[in-house]
C-alpha cells in the first residue's frame, strides 16, 4: 500500500512502509517516489483501483495522470483549467473531471501499459515494502493490489551468469580437445571421434537438462568436494600419462604416436576415483567435515541443489560440440605447407601447434567461442530444468539464476495475449535475438574472412 502526499508547492511523493536496513525491527514510512513537481499546489488526488496510477489536480485546475511505480507522467490535460477533482474510472480506461462550474467531463484514456518505462525495465525501482531501490522481476502476486515488478536486469544477469559458467567449463575442454584432434591424434581415431562429437551435438537439450536436474544435481550436492577436486586432479591425471609414456619401452612407444587417448581415458577414470576417495578426508580437513556448512559460516553463501555449477556443467556439455567442431575446422584447415615447413625446420609437434597453428587459426577459435556463447545465451531447457529459476542478482556459483529464455518458457503460457507481461516477454525475446544475432554475425564474418585468408595463403 502506498500513500500519496501532495504539498502546497506542488510537490508530489509516494510513501510506504519499508525497512531501510536489516536492523529495523519495524518498518518505517519511507519516501520512495518523488515526482516532478506540479505547476501549482496539489488540491486533490485520485487513485486508480486497477493499478498504481493516480490523478492529481492542482490549485490552478491542472489535471495530471501519473503512475506510481514508473513515476511516469502519463497524461497532462492541457485544456483543463477549472478542475477541482478528478477520478480514474474503475476499469482504468477513463478520467472523470469535476469542474468549478459544476460540470463534469469524461475523458477516454487509452493507456495499456502505464507501469513500463525504461527505468522500470532496466533501472532500480523502489517497490512497495522494499528498503531500497532494487532490480526485481516478479510478474505475478497473490493479491489484487500487487505491484508488478518487470526489471529485466536480473534476467539479463542470469543469462550472462549461466553463459559465463558454461563457457568457463566448455572453452578449455572444447578448444584443447579440438587442438588435440586436429594436430596430434592418429587419423584412425579421428575418424571415430568426429561422429561421436557430432552425435553429442545432436543430443536433445531436454535430455541433458533432465539428466542434469534429476541425476547430476543431487550427485554434485553429495560429492561437491570431490567434483571441485576433480577440476584440479583430472587434468593432472591425464597429463601424468606423459611420465608413464616416457618410461615405456621404446619398442611399444615407437608404433603409437597419436594414440595417447588409450592411456588417457583410464588415467582420467583413475583420477576421478582418487578424487572420490580422497574427498571425504579433504572435506574433513579443509571444511571441518561439511562443505555446505563451511560455505555458509565462512562466506555466508547458501548452497542450492540446482545451482550454477550444475548449469555450467550441463550447458557446457551442450555447447562443447559446437565450439569443438568449428575450432577443429579452423585448426585442421591451416594450410599444410605451414605446419610441414615448421616441422621440417625442427620444431616439435607442440611448438608447431602453439606457434603456427594456433595463431593462424585464432580467428576461427574466436568465432567458435562466439557461436558457443550465442548457443548458451539462448539455451532454454537446460537452465529451465537444472536451476531453481529464481531471479537473483548474485555471482555465486552455488546458487541458481533465471535466464531470459527460461523466463519466457515459464511465464508466457500464463501471459494474456497483448497484456503487459506478454509484451515484456516479447521484449525479452527481442533482446535475446539481438544478442545472438550480433554475436553470430560477428562470428560468421570472422569465419568468412578466415576462409579467404586460408585461400590466399
Amino acid at each position: 500500500v502506498t500513500f500519496l502526499a501532495g504539498t502546497e508547492k506542488g510537490e508530489l511523493s509516494g510513501w510506504f512502509e519499508g525497512r531501510l536496513s536489516d536492523d529495523d525491527a519495524e518498518g518505517r514510512m519511507v519516501r520512495a517516489h518523488v515526482f516532478a513537481p506540479q505547476t501549482s499546489a496539489v488540491r486533490t488526488l485520485g487513485a486508480s483501483t486497477r493499478d498504481k496510477s493516480f490523478v492529481a489536480v492542482g490549485e490552478d485546475g491542472s489535471v495530471v495522470l501519473r503512475h506510481m511505480t514508473s513515476e511516469r507522467t502519463l497524461l497532462s490535460l492541457s485544456g483543463e483549467t477549472g478542475a477541482v477533482a478528478a477520478m480514474i474510472t474503475p476499469k482504468g480506461d477513463g478520467l472523470l473531471v469535476a469542474r468549478q462550474d459544476g460540470s463534469l467531463a469524461r475523458y477516454e484514456v487509452n493507456n495499456p501499459h502505464p507501469e513500463i518505462s525504461w527505468r522500470t525495465l532496466f533501472g532500480k525501482v523502489w517497490y512497495e515494502g522494499y528498503g531500497r531501490p532494487e532490480y526485481v522481476w516478479q510478474s505475478t502476486g497473490g493479491t489484487n493490489d500487487f505491484e508488478t515488478k518487470f526489471s529485466l536486469v536480473p534476467l539479463v544477469f542470469g543469462t550472462l551468469k549461466g553463459t559465463l559458467y558454461a563457457l568457463l567449463f566448455a572453452i578449455p575442454l572444447a578448444v584443447l580437445g579440438a587442438l588435440y584432434i586436429s594436430q596430434f591424434v592418429h587419423p584412425a581415431i579421428r575418424g571415430r571421434i568426429k561422429p561421436t562429437v557430432e552425435i553429442m551435438a545432436a543430443l536433445p537439450s531436454v535430455v541433458i537438462g533432465f539428466v542434469a536436474g534429476l541425476y547430476l544435481a543431487p550427485l554434485v550436492e553429495r560429492y561437491v568436494v570431490a567434483i571441485l577436486l576433480m577440476m584440479a586432479v583430472l587434468p593432472a591425471a591425464g597429463t601424468a600419462g606423459v611420465l608413464i609414456w616416457h618410461r615405456l619401452p621404446k619398442s611399444i612407444r615407437r608404433f603409437k604416436p597419436g594414440t595417447e587417448l588409450a592411456l588417457i581415458v583410464p588415467l582420467l577414470l583413475m583420477g576421478a576415483w582418487v578424487s572420490l576417495t580422497v574427498a571425504p578426508s579433504a572435506e574433513q580437513a579443509l571444511f571441518s567435515g561439511d562443505f555446505r556448512m563451511w560455505l555458509s559460516t565462512t562466506f555466508g553463501l547458501t548452497y542450492d541443489q540446482r545451482n550454477s555449477m550444475v548449469v555450467g556443467l550441463a550447458m557446457g556439455f551442450a555447447i562443447i560440440p559446437i565450439i569443438f567442431t568449428i575450432a577443429d575446422d579452423a585448426f585442421s584447415s591451416v594450410p599444410s605447407h605451414l605446419t610441414a615447413g615448421s616441422l621440417a625446420l625442427g620444431a616439435t609437434r607442440w611448438q608447431t601447434a602453439l606457434r603456427i597453428v594456433v595463431p593462424t587459426a585464432s580467428p576461427g577459435v574466436f568465432s567458435a567461442i562466439m557461436i558457443g556463447f550465442g548457443r548458451a545465451v539462448g539455451e532454454t531447457m537446460i537452465v529451465l530444468m537444472a536451476t531453481g529459476n529464481t531471479p537473483v542478482l548474485d555471482w555465486s556459483i552455488f546458487n541458481g539464476m533465471r535466464t531470459l529464455s527460461a523466463n519466457i518458457a515459464v511465464e508466457i503460457p500464463e501471459a494474456p495475449h497483448g497484456g503487459t507481461l506478454y509484451r515484456v516477454l516479447f521484449l525479452g525475446a527481442a533482446l535475446l535475438f539481438t544478442m545472438t544475432f550480433a554475436v553470430n554475425t560477428v562470428a560468421e564474418v570472422v569465419r568468412q574472412r578466415l576462409r579467404e585468408k586460408y585461400r590466399a595463403l
Binding site: 584443447l176 580437445g177 588435440y180 584432434i181 596430434f184 587419423p187 571421434i193 561422429p195 561421436t196 545432436a202 543430443l203 536433445p204 537439450s205 531436454v206 535430455v207 533432465f210 539428466v211 534429476l214 541425476y215 553429495r222 587434468p235 591425464g238 597429463t239 600419462g241 606423459v242 616416457h246 621404446k250 608404433f255 604416436p257 597419436g258 587417448l261 588417457i264 581415458v265 582420467l268 577414470l269 571441518s288 567435515g289 561439511d290 556439455f317 562443447i320 610441414a340 609437434r349 607442440w350 548457443r375 539462448g378 532454454t380 531447457m381 530444468m385 529464455s405 519466457i408 508466457i412 503460457p413 495475449h417 516479447f426 525475446a429 535475438f433 545472438t436 553470430n440 560468421e444 568468412q448
Partner: protein, 564 residues
C-alpha cells in the same frame, strides 16, 4: 598395432632414440597430453550421460524380487530394494559407517508413500517370501502383498495364496478383453457421437450467425434438420452410455483381495488389474516375459496415473507426426532456397549476406522461434483463420491457439537453415563435368538441374532432411508455447472427417520428459518412466544422426570434393 601411413597429416614426429632436446620436447609433450585429456574428458562425459540414461532406463521394466523386512520395532515392509548406501553423518565418527536401504514399497493408497528408507541396524529379519504378488493396477501405483481371496458375484471362488493365484488367471485374461471392449465403446463410439454432436452444434451456431446477417427463408428447415440430428445423436449417446454402464457392471463382478504384509487388506476389481505376477517365483524366462510385456505396454499404451505409468504411445505418435509435417514444409523451402543460392543467384554481396543470415538463423535461440510462432502463427494467422472460417466456434479458438500445425511450422522455420546448408553443400558437390555434359547435349538450365543436378544431389539433400528431423524431434522449448500439452487423449489423426486435425494439441516425447520429470506431483516415483522415455528419444535422435553421417560419408567418398 598399425603403422601410421607417413603421408597423412598430421605428420607424426618420431621421438627419436637420442632425444636431443629433451627439455623442450618433454615439456611440449606434457601440453599435448593435456589437450588429449580435454578430449578424453569430453568422451567420458558422453559415455557417462548415455550410460546413466541406459542403466536407469533399461532396468526399470525388469521385475526385481521382493524382500520382506521386519524391523526391530515390529514394523513390516515388503518391497523392491531400490538403493543401498552408507548413511552420511558429516562431523560425527559414525559418518558413512552404517548402511541403509531404500525400499520401493508400493501400496501408495495404504501407506501414503512410495519409498521407505530403512537403517540396516533396525532390521530384525530380511526374507524373500515366495508367494507375494506384484499387482499393477489402474490407480495408486503397484500393490504388493499376498493374494487372499477371489470373489465373483459375491461368492468366494478361492481362498489362500496358491488357490487364488491359480484361480485368478482366467479373470485377468478376461479383464484384458473387457478393458479393450470398454475402451472401444468409451473412446471410439462415444467419442464419435460426441464429435458429431459438436459438429452439429457448430453448424447450428454458424446458421444463427448467417441468419443474423442476412435472413434466409430455408433457414428454419435447415435448423430443424440440424436439431433433429443433434437429438438423434443424443439418443444414440444415451443408448451407448447405458450399454457402457451395463458392461461396466457386468465386468465389475469379480474382486481380488490382496493382503499386505502389515496386515491390511485391499480389495480391487479384477478389471483394474493390468498385470500381476509373483516376482519371487519367476524364472529367468518368466522375467523376460514380464519385461517384454511391460516394454510393449510402454510403447503402445496410453499413459495412466498422470503420466507416471502406462505407455507413451500418444507422445510417440505426436512426435512423429509433428516431424513429418515439419519436413513437408521445410524441405521444399530449403531446397528451393539452396537451388537459387547455388545455381541462379550471382555470387556477390547480397548472396553472401543471405548466407550469413541463414547461418545466423540456425544460431537464433529456439525459444525465440517459439515466441515468434506464438505471436505470429497462433495469434495473427490463427486468429485470422478463426475469424474467417470458424466464426461459429468463437470465442473458443480453433486455430487461434497452440496446435500441431503451428508447432510444426515453427519447427520448420527452425530447421530450414539445416536443410539449406546441407542442400547447398550437396549441390556444390555435383561435379561440374556432369552439368557441362548435360548443357552440351542441348539441355536447358532447368532441365539440367531437374534431371542431372538434383538426382545427383538427392542423397545430400536427404542428409539435410534427416539432420533437420533429428533436430526437430529433440527440440522442446518452442513447442511448449505453440501447442504441446501434457495429456492429449485425441490423436491428431483419427477416423473422423477430415481425419487430419491440424488444430489439435498433441503430446511430445521431449516435453513428456520435462513434464513428468519436473512437473508431476510424484517426481521420485516417475523418474524411471522419464529415463525410459529419454532412451526412446535418444534412440530416435541418434539413429537419425547416424543415418545422416553414413549417407554423407558415402557421398564424400563418391565425389571426393572438398565442399564446406
Amino acid at each position: 598395432m598399425a603403422h601410421p601411413p607417413s603421408d597423412l597429416p598430421p605428420p607424426p614426429t618420431p621421438q627419436d632414440a637420442t632425444r636431443p632436446k629433451r627439455g623442450s620436447a618433454g615439456a611440449g609433450d606434457t601440453w599435448i597430453w593435456l589437450t588429449g585429456s580435454a578430449l578424453g574428458l569430453c568422451l567420458l562425459m558422453i559415455a557417462g550421460l548415455v550410460g546413466v540414461v541406459l542403466v536407469n532406463g533399461l532396468g526399470f521394466f525388469w521385475p526385481e524380487p521382493l524382500v520382506k523386512v521386519t524391523l526391530k520395532d515390529g514394523g513390516v515392509f515388503l518391497g523392491q530394494v531400490e538403493d543401498e548406501e552408507p548413511i552420511p553423518q558429516p562431523g560425527t565418527p559414525e559418518h558413512n559407517q552404517k548402511r541403509r536401504l531404500q525400499l520401493k514399497v508400493g501400496n501408495r493408497d495404504l501407506l501414503g508413500f512410495d519409498f521407505k528408507w530403512i537403517n540396516e541396524d533396525e532390521v530384525a529379519t530380511r526374507e524373500d517370501p515366495a508367494d507375494v504378488v506384484y499387482v499393477e493396477r489402474r490407480e495408486y501405483g503397484p500393490l504388493l502383498g499376498t493374494p487372499a481371496r477371489l470373489t465373483d458375484s459375491g461368492q468366494v471362488k478361492a481362498e489362500g495364496s496358491e488357490a487364488v493365484w491359480a484361480a485368478v488367471q482366467p479373470y485377468l485374461d478376461r479383464a484384458r478383453r473387457d478393458r479393450a471392449a470398454l475402451r472401444k465403446i468409451e473412446r471410439d463410439q462415444i467419442g464419435e457421437i460426441n464429435y458429431r454432436i459438436e459438429q452439429a452444434r457448430l453448424e447450428l451456431r454458424g446458421l444463427e450467425l448467417e441468419q443474423s446477417r442476412r435472413p434466409q427463408p430455408e433457414a428454419a428447415a435447415r435448423r430443424a434438420e440440424l436439431e433433429r440430428r443433434v437429438a438423434e445423436q443424443q439418443e444414440r449417446y444415451r443408448a451407448k452410455q447405458e450399454e457402457l454402464q451395463k458392461l461396466v457392471e457386468a465386468t465389475s463382478q469379480s474382486y481380488l483381495t490382496v493382503a499386505t504384509v502389515d496386515g491390511q487388506e485391499k480389495e480391487l476389481r479384477t478389471l483394474d488389474v493390468f498385470r500381476a505376477f509373483r516376482p519371487n517365483r519367476l524364472t529367468r524366462w518368466g522375467r523376460l516375459r514380464v519385461y517384454t510385456s511391460r516394454l510393449w505396454e510402454f510403447v503402445s499404451g496410453d499413459p495412466r496415473e498422470s503420466n507416471t505409468e502406462g505407455g507413451i504411445f500418444p507422445a510417440i505418435f505426436g512426435t512423429v507426426m509433428m516431424v513429418m509435417i515439419m519436413s513437408v514444409v521445410a524441405v521444399p523451402f530449403g531446397v528451393l532456397a539452396a537451388l537459387y543460392l547455388r545455381e541462379y543467384a550471382r555470387q556477390g554481396f547480397l548472396v553472401r549476406s543471405v548466407r550469413i543470415a541463414v547461418n545466423n538463423l540456425a544460431g537464433v535461440p529456439s525459444i525465440v522461434f517459439g515466441v515468434f510462432g506464438l505471436g505470429f502463427f497462433v495469434y495473427v494467422v490463427g486468429g485470422a483463420i478463426d475469424r474467417t472460417f470458424y466464426p461459429e466456434a468463437l470465442p473458443t479458438p480453433t486455430f487461434g491457439t497452440g496446435g500441431i500445425l503451428w508447432a510444426s511450422l515453427t519447427l520448420a522455420l527452425l530447421t530450414v537453415p539445416v536443410v539449406i546448408v546441407a542442400a547447398e553443400e550437396a549441390l556444390a558437390a555435383v561435379p561440374r563435368s556432369m552439368r557441362e555434359a548435360s548443357l552440351a547435349t542441348g539441355a536447358t538450365k532447368w532441365q539440367t538441374i531437374q534431371r542431372v543436378v538434383l538426382p545427383a544431389a538427392a542423397p545430400g539433400i536427404l542428409t539435410g532432411l534427416i539432420l533437420a528431423m533429428a533436430r526437430g524431434a529433440g527440440e522442446v522449448a518452442p513447442l511448449m508455447i505453440t501447442g504441446v500439452v501434457k495429456l492429449a487423449p485425441d490423436l491428431p489423426l483419427d477416423g473422423f472427417f477430415p481425419f487430419l486435425h491440424l488444430d489439435r494439441k498433441f503430446m511430445h516425447l521431449g516435453f513428456h520428459i520435462y513434464d513428468v520429470g519436473f512437473q508431476s506431483p510424484n517426481v521420485e516415483a516417475a523418474k524411471p518412466m522419464v529415463y525410459t522415455t529419454t532412451i526412446l528419444l535418444l534412440a530416435i535422435v541418434v539413429l537419425l544422426n547416424l543415418t545422416a553421417i553414413v549417407v554423407r560419408n558415402r557421398l564424400r567418398s563418391k565425389y571426393q570434393t572438398s565442399a564446406f
